[in-house]
Amino acid sequence: MLFNSYEFIFAFLPITFIIYFYLNSKRLIIGAKGFLVFASLFFYSWWNIVYLPIILSSILFNYVIGNTLAKKENKSSFNKKSILIFGIVSNLSLLGYFKYADFFIENFNLISSSNIEPLKLLLPLAISFFTFQQIAYLVDSYKNETKEYDFLNYALFVTFFPQLIAGPIVHHKVMMPQFVNKYNLVKKYKNIALGLFIFSIGLFKKVVIADTFAVWATAGFDNVEVLTLFDAWATSLSYTFQLYFDFSGYTDMAIGAALLFNINLPINFNSPYKATNIQDFWRRWHITLSRFLKDYIYIPLGGNRLGSFRTYTNLVATFLIGGLWHGAGWTFIFWGLLHGIALAINRAWQNLGFRLPKILAWFITFNFVNISWIFFRAKHWDDAINVLKGMFGFNGIDSIEWMQLNYIALAFIFVLLFKNSTKWLEEYKKYYVHITFGLFVFTILQLNNMMVSRNNSEFLYFNF
């Protein structure tokens, strides 16, 4: 079920909300939680019910392993480290089988000139998200940083529908206390107002802004054979804004939907295109993934504790994994490599004590991010090269599409000069209720427009 669909907005969300709080009001707390897990699994199965056994098995498996690891006295014949390694390897194997098997086969065929048939498996929805979330849980259980949660709370932690499909990647330390807090079991009108406000902002970002840029990004990347200078820049910038408004819109909607249930999800974006260096960018973009990569990959690899050279290689290795996490393709790996190298250069630059004027630093950072997104978006190398060639003037210069240019200018104003949605939420005023309503009406009109034009689009991060 998509957050930007009628069935979610007008049926699933209100019905789930009403039943959940009705059950809580009757003091059927376990029943309410059970219902929320059921509703979340229903939400998950809406696309394809065949995915359901995979997520259920994954939850059960990780719950058992996590609880075994969390027990202070380990009675099993295996030591804790072996159990942890078994747990992580099993999770990665599941992810690897569904997400990377064909990529591996294709490359193996290429190297060995063999002809192994690809498996052509359907990628279970959100597998990258719930696998990472649960690996973190296992690692923390190993470190005795978890408590012995009951299965229902654990299942809710993994399946809670606002964050299930595309994050934010939540941490059990943040979520579990909220699920057991009895003050969260009653309706809070302030949270409803805040939730609807940020949900409407997210819906607007996705349906109105991101999907408008999607028209130009898709045309440029997928339908035009030769892009001239302005077209190529407009295409890459369109995708840069599409991705930001799409994903941050999704996150806003997730935060809003969770708030209706009195659950605070962590923020995932903090005006990333205002970043003045690449490290700053990763502290602002997909914050929960960055945190995961730092805590569970970069630091275990040694972080910055093993000298400069190892710090740089750790950064590159972490981002190579980050790239691969996003998708099974060389363009994603290359995108990760670019960011890893950029972070290493940035670190070296800082160590040398160099400073750039703020505007120049922003300009370089933004353009690096914009150019690297080309590899992230392109389906094939050739598509990326086509856009890049255009951007550097190899395909000549043609006229500008003024409408697109105006939208790009507006997007720059939005992302650079305006407060982001999290700030708006923090400074919520009573009259924002009118903004909520206005945004909601406007967005529903456009949502209908997309639907009747057979143009309804998914969120980009569902692919990961």
Partner: protein, 329 residues
């Protein structure tokens, strides 16, 4: 709420989701007619084209009208109106060039019309005293269906139609009056929201019709069987009356035929029946299908999203018509 709707109208106008605003208004004789001295965009997934209507509401010429030259008048539906085609390539402007500027070629094509409305356009909108030739484009399947008022959806603009008992006897059924519904429609027609509302209505209508698909299919088939002969009477009646009028005024009348069935499935019975009728009435005509079939081997004929001929096809059809039909005028 109102502010949101107003901003949404502005957004539609200045976004890639624009559909353009309605090119027609209510007309007491035809039911609808192009807005006069009007320019707009026709926008779909596969084209975005600026069109212009002149002071009479005709599709604008790319040349200057000269009173000392005789007129050639084109009649037809959206394929001839061709708002999606670059104006200089539109069939009337292409013919003008092909005829070496010897005639004014005027485009009276109007989307959503069939022969009986086109007859009324001829009578009510065309200055017949200066006309040398009328070229009438008949698109068989569309025009047969358009003769039946039962096919006019209530959500569509009103239309005049002629109800023929036989070739000579008919009744003109005037379009419904300019009531509140049409006034609202004309008002909304100035906004993008009108196209938006129409799209929405069609979408939901189709969605609910789909629920009862089989039933509707059966009904439709029975309806078509019952009405086949009725439709032929209406089509032939309109052509017969145009021929009668042009003969009286000493104007040449020529017909260009196109059949989707013949083009796609080689089903030529309808074309043959119509050609036989035209021959019996001594009406000069040509069939475009064999030419277009040949042409499709070398170029794409139409826009992918709605099947209307593209600009190149308009130009090629013009050359073909000069060779086969208009060479001696």
């Amino acid at each position: 709420m109102i502010i949101s709707v107003v901003i949404f109208e502005i957004f539609l106008r200045y976004s890639p989701f624009s559909s353009g605003i309605s090119p027609v208004v209510y007309d007491k004789d035809i039911g609808m007619w192009h807005k006069k001295d009007f320019s707009g965009y026709l926008i779909k997934e596969c084209y975005k084209n600026k069109y212009t209507f002149d002071e009479i509401g005709r599709v604008a010429n790319s040349y200057t009208y000269e009173k000392n030259k005789k007129d050639i008048v084109l009649l037809g539906d959206s394929q001839i109106e061709a708002l999606m085609v670059e104006n200089s390539k539109n069939i009337h402007n292409s013919l003008y060039k092909e005829l070496d500027d010897r005639y004014n070629v005027l485009n009276y094509g109007l989307s959503g019309t069939g022969p009986s409305q086109q007859y009324q356009i001829l009578k009510n909108k065309v200055e017949l005293s200066n006309v040398d030739t009328i070229i009438h484009f008949v698109f068989l399947e569309n025009d047969l269906n358009d003769t039946d008022p039962k096919n006019f959806a209530s959500t569509n603009r009103p239309k005049v139609y002629m109800k023929f008992e036989d070739l000579d006897n008919y009744k003109v059924i005037k379009p419904r009056a300019y009531g509140i519904k049409e006034k609202i429609r004309d008002f909304l027609g100035n906004f993008e929201l009108y196209a938006y509302l129409k799209k929405t209505i069609y979408y939901y209508k189709y969605l609910f019709e789909k629920q009862d698909k089989n039933n509707i299919k059966i009904k439709k088939e029975v309806f078509q069987l019952q009405n086949e002969e009725y439709k032929w009477t209406q089509l032939q009646g309109s052509v017969y009356q145009i021929n009668k009028l042009t003969k009286k005024l000493n104007i040449k009348y020529k017909i260009v035929i196109y059949s989707t069935y013949e083009f796609k499935d080689n089903y030529s019975l309808k074309t043959e029946r119509f050609e036989k009728f035209l021959t019996s009435q001594s009406i000069s005509h040509i069939n475009l299908v064999p030419f277009l079939k040949d042409l499709s081997k070398t170029q794409s004929l139409s826009f992918e999203c709605d099947g209307h001929w593209n600009g190149d096809t308009h130009e090629k059809i013009s050359s073909f018509m000069i060779r086969k039909m208009l060479g001696n005028i």
